[in-house]
Each structure stands twice: as structure tokens, then as C-alpha cells.
Symmetry: C2
Subunit: 228 residues, 2 copies
DNA sequence: TTTCCGCAGTTTGTATACAGTGTGCAATAA
DNA sequence: TTATTGCACACTGTATACAAACTGCGGAAA
């Protein structure tokens, strides 16, 4: 059986992975012809895949000029992460009272898989996905699908930068410890503390990313100091 | 000169208007061929328009079965409006300290146009748009484009139901008065009161919509009581 | 009678082909 | 040399044509 219902969906999923994986730096043009050859399909499903990625904020269309990967300013990254704080704490607050034992155990199971993957190294790509799956497991009992969709969208948009941070710093262990604590708070129904930790957890990641980007920007300025 | 850069964009904009205007009840199938004939274009731009509307939540694709207008459950409507409260009060709180005299006057100008349109009646279609423009004018100084995009998205999704409410009740005048008060609070920098009013303003609309839908659901049950 | 299978018709999904727009280079003039 | 105009190329946007999937109905089997 075919892995996906349509070619467009397949291309969209795969291309999303490639973009998030860093294959296309921000601002790269995504030529439809080249992608069509890559996937051995026509340009039509490629275009539709690109449109789907546009709605996720990974790509921007300019009429008659094509599709380009997006690049977020530091201000926008800050904005995204603050939105995540707002929405995810809201979500967690509503989820904790509904959490069942079974759901908590599921979340713990995900953390264990994490830890295992963590040992085997080199799995940053997957880590990023597991990370969201864990958070999702905690939020799901809130039963707010629309909110979840937006949170998911925000996570996708920030994903590239989170991977970058993981690449440059060794924050995985710390994040992992925070996840365990977060789960413990949730299990004990300590809503306030859980939300505070979650907020700190998200904002720390944000600051890590921003400091990397700022460092990179400075390095650029030093290399080419001719800013007339 | 062409009004739009691409045919797909034109179709998307026009079709959005038709859907929000109530031409297609929730769950209607949107046949690509029929729409293509309507607009005298091929199915390709129609498909792309439908994909755009899908990302706005107005339409859902089912692989190999086509596109259908979405229908929101009461629970989802409540969720959407609560999200609007969360995000729009957050936005307003951040906007008020940045509001300039000029921006306040702009907002007031929009309200005046409202009032004029209100007298000339029958302009519910436009009212819905003016409504968002006014709110947008108040929020803009917060300088949070990503947040604004999400708020805009939520407004689009709830727009159909707001129009329905305006059609069945005479709440326009009340909403209009609240807008004036909201503007006054904003002008005076009374953040807390402005946000409280905004919250009530949004939740009132929500309850109005829900009561209409619940009434309608009951009427349905009475007409066909054969629920085996 | 009820259930299952298969076929025809309809609609979507995709390939191919064509038209239109933007871009960059080259040639010309100042 | 530098600025400007026009042309050719490349790529996107769209039309047309074809392939594949789903739906509903009718008939056969249990």
C-alpha cells in the first residue's frame, strides 16, 4: 500500500523534514522543477506541498518569483516563544486536572524512550520530535484541539531554531531533567509549579537560541565590516 | 492591471467571501469543476485556492474525496472564543502603552465609519470586516506580527458564526457602544478595565452564538424525533 | 432477507504542455 | 566609465489531458 494518500502529502512531509533539518538555509529559493525531479513527480504536487508548508510558516510564496524558505528575525523568535509560554501554560493548567494515571504513565514511557535515544547519541533529529510528543501527551487531556493545533504550529515554526540550539549547546540533559520534574509536578497536581517550570523551560530555550544568533550576527559584522 | 497577482489568489479571496457569507452551509462539498467554471479558470488555481482556505480552517480536504466546508461544534466555537480572549487581551495589554494619539484617532475614525454604515443598514457583510479592522487598529501598536496573524486566523474561523449572530439578534448597537468604551479606556491607559471589557465583549458574542445554535439544535430534534 | 462483490460513472489527483512574468546580461549611448 | 534600454532565458502560473481512487448501485451468494 502507498505510504501516503497523495504525492503532494508525501512531498510536503519529506520536504518539511529537510527544511527543519537545515538543508535549506533561510531565504533559499525552492525551485519547483528541481524538487519535482528529486521526488520524481510533476510540479503540481510540489506546488501543493509548498503551499501546505507556506501555511505552516516554513516557506513564503512571492507571486511569479516562487517559494523561499522563511527566516525569522530575533524579534520574531522571541515573539513565538512568548506565545508558546502563554498558550502552553494555559493548556497545561487545563490538562493537569484531567490527567489519568494511564496518561501519566504514557508520558513517562515517552520520557524513557527519550533517555534511551539520548544515550545512543546522534539522534538530535528524532529528539526534536520526541520532545513535542512528550509535551503533547501532557497537554492532550485538556481536550482543546484548536489550541493544540496552534501550539503545534508554533512548535513547527520554532523547530529549526531549537535544533540549532541543541547542535551548539549541550542543553539536552538539562531539558530532559526538567521534563522529569514537569511530569512529577503534573502527577502531583501542582499546577502552579508545573506552569512556572514550563515557562522557564521554554524561555531558557529561547534565550539560548537568541544568544547563538546574536553571536553569529556579531561574527558576521566582524568578517565584513564594510557597512556603508 | 489585474486586480490580483494570480488567479489562485483571486479565487481564494472571492471564495472566502462566499463561504463566510453563508453561501455554502457547513459540510458542503466544493466541486472543483463547478468552481472552475464559475470563475472561468482551470481546476489548478481552484485547487490552490481551496488549499489556502484549508489553511485558514474554512475548508477541509479528504484525499480523493475533495474539499468540504468545515462545520464547528459548539465546543469548538467556545474554544475559539476563549482563545480569542486569551490572545486579544494579551495583545491589548501590550498595545495600550504604545498607542499614539494618531493611532487612537485612526481607530476613532474607523468607529465613525461604522456608525455611518450602521445607519444605512443592510451592511452586515461589511460590518464584520470593519469590526476586525477596528480591533486590529487597537492591537497593531503591540508590534507582534505573529500573534496578530493568529488572532486574524481565529477571527476568520469565527466570522461565519458572528455574522449569523448579527442576523438573528440586534446586538450591533451594543457591540458598537462597547467599542466606544473600549477606545475610551485605551485612550486613558486604563489597561485593566479595557481588557476586562474586551473579555466580556468577546464572551458575550460567544454566548449569543451558542444560544442560537442550541436553539436550532433543539428545533431539529423536535422536527425529527426518530433518533434510534 | 441480508451481505458481499464487482462494475460503471463521477470526481479527484497528477502529468504534460503552454503562456506569462520577472531577471539579468549585453549592447548602446551619454 | 556609468547609466539605460531591450532582448533572451529561466522559472513560475495555468490550461489541458490522462490516471487513479472513491461512490453507489445492481446482482449473486449465504
Amino acid at each position: 500500500m502507498p505510504a501516503y494518500k497523495t504525492r503532494a502529502q508525501f512531498v510536503a512531509n519529506d520536504l518539511r523534514g529537510r527544511i527543519l533539518g537545515g538543508e535549506f538555509p533561510g531565504g533559499s529559493q525552492l525551485r519547483q522543477d528541481a524538487l519535482a525531479k528529486d521526488y520524481d513527480v510533476s510540479r503540481i504536487p510540489v506546488r501543493e506541498a509548498l503551499l501546505a508548508l507556506e501555511s505552516e510558516g516554513l516557506v513564503e510564496f512571492h507571486a511569479h518569483r516562487g517559494a523561499f524558505t522563511t527566516e525569522l528575525s530575533i524579534a520574531k523568535i522571541r515573539e513565538l516563544f512568548e506565545l508558546r509560554v502563554l498558550l502552553e501554560t494555559y493548556m497545561l493548567k487545563r490538562a493537569i486536572p484531567n490527567l489519568t494515571e494511564e496518561q501519566l504513565d504514557d508520558a513517562e514511557g515517552i520520557l524513557r524512550k527519550y533517555d534511551a535515544a539520548l544515550d545512543s547519541r546522534g539522534q538530535i533529529d528524532n529528539w526534536s520530535e520526541y520532545n513535542f510528543v512528550f509535551h503533547q501527551a501532557l497537554y492532550a487531556p485538556a481536550n482543546l484541539p484548536e489550541t493544540m493545533a496552534i501550539i503545534s504550529q508554533l512548535n513547527t515554526k520554532s523547530d529549526r531554531y531549537i535544533r540549532m540550539q541543541l547542535l551548539y549547546t549541550q542543553e539536552i540533559e538539562k531539558a530532559e531533567r526538567e521534563h522529569h520534574t514537569l511530569l512529577a509536578f503534573s502527577r502531583e497536581g501542582r499546577i502552579e509549579q508545573a506552569c512556572q517550570l514550563l515557562e522557564a523551560h521554554i524561555l531558557e530555550a529561547c534565550e539560548g537560541i537568541v544568544s547563538i544568533l546574536e553571536g553569529r550576527a556579531q561574527a558576521q559584522q566582524q568578517t565584513l565590516p564594510n557597512t556603508r
